[in-house]
Amino acid sequence: MEVGQLQRSFVEYMASLFREGFLDAQFSQLQQLQDDSNPDFVVEVVSLFFEDSERLLNDLTMALDQPNVDFKQVDAHVHQLKGSSSSVGAQRVKNCCVPFRNCCEEQNIETCLRCLQQIKQEYLLVKNKLQTLFELEQQIVAAGGAIPMVQ
């Protein structure tokens, strides 16, 4: 595919991610922070987000699997996840955290498990989308093009 086409695909894909609510304005903030002195900033921060989220999702799974669930601990993990998803602009993941915290307060295992399921799905979706986005960027660069700035 030639550079122009790749760039157009990139712009369209990015726009769809915002339109469909996967990403919000905070992600744009991250993109604006990327420059020549921090050329891989977005990928770095997003990679930290992936690492952090996967660890938290594992911790949540284990915490909810205990015979006596420590809801305070579960809530603490969700709070962390809400923080990081909010900081990278992963809107849908962030939005799953609010009802989850309510379920923790109600100390309801059933609903907590359902929330966990939902968050896992949203996380995998956004991870997939972001990886696709980064791959598109790499293809553009490999084809000798510049990555378009999307407002």
Partner: protein, 156 residues
């Protein structure tokens, strides 16, 4: 495992030329992603940044930890501002703020509290304890630019 991460905005190859007008900020946050974000935001605003992942390590860096001798070699005098998350395990940002304000050496250093939650009682509590500003997360570039102006004013 490194407890602190130091960064310098001095360009490589110039040797130890100290840019003394660059504020040195200690950023404290237990969240990995937020630590990275605040570090970059501060570097973008031409600050030298040291990060710490919790209150205790922050106090140790400043030479204020309970187990430290007051004459111990500390970095406290080099720090121009401390920015800390409120919700942290072990010691909250509020507790860290109190310890800093209790210290004769550090009490005049501006402390900024960050939180993802907009809770008026929490904000008031921090302001009453002497916090410079309370900021809502996620932080944006404009927030940090504003902070930098404040630090420069404080330095006089």
């Amino acid at each position: 495992m490194e407890m602190f991460a130091n960064s310098s905005s001095i360009s490589k190859g110039m040797g130890e030329v100290v840019a003394s007008d660059e504020p040195h900020v200690l950023a404290v946050d237990d969240n990995l992603v937020d630590r990275k974000l605040v570090e970059i935001l501060l570097k973008k605003s031409s600050c030298k940044v040291t990060t710490a992942e919790d209150g205790l390590r922050a106090l140790e860096y400043l030479g204020l930890a309970a187990h430290q001798d007051s004459s111990a070699n500390s970095n406290g005098s080099k720090v121009n501002m401390i920015i800390t998350d409120y919700c942290m395990p072990g010691m909250t940002g509020y507790e860290l703020l109190k310890k800093i304000k209790e210290s004769s050496m550090m009490k005049d250093v501006p402390v900024v509290i960050m939180s993802s939650e907009n809770i008026p009682t929490r904000i008031n509590q921090c302001m009453e304890e002497g916090a410079q500003i309370f900021m809502l997360k996620p932080l944006k570039h404009s927030d940090v630019e504003r902070l930098r102006c404040q630090i420069m004013q404080c330095r006089g």
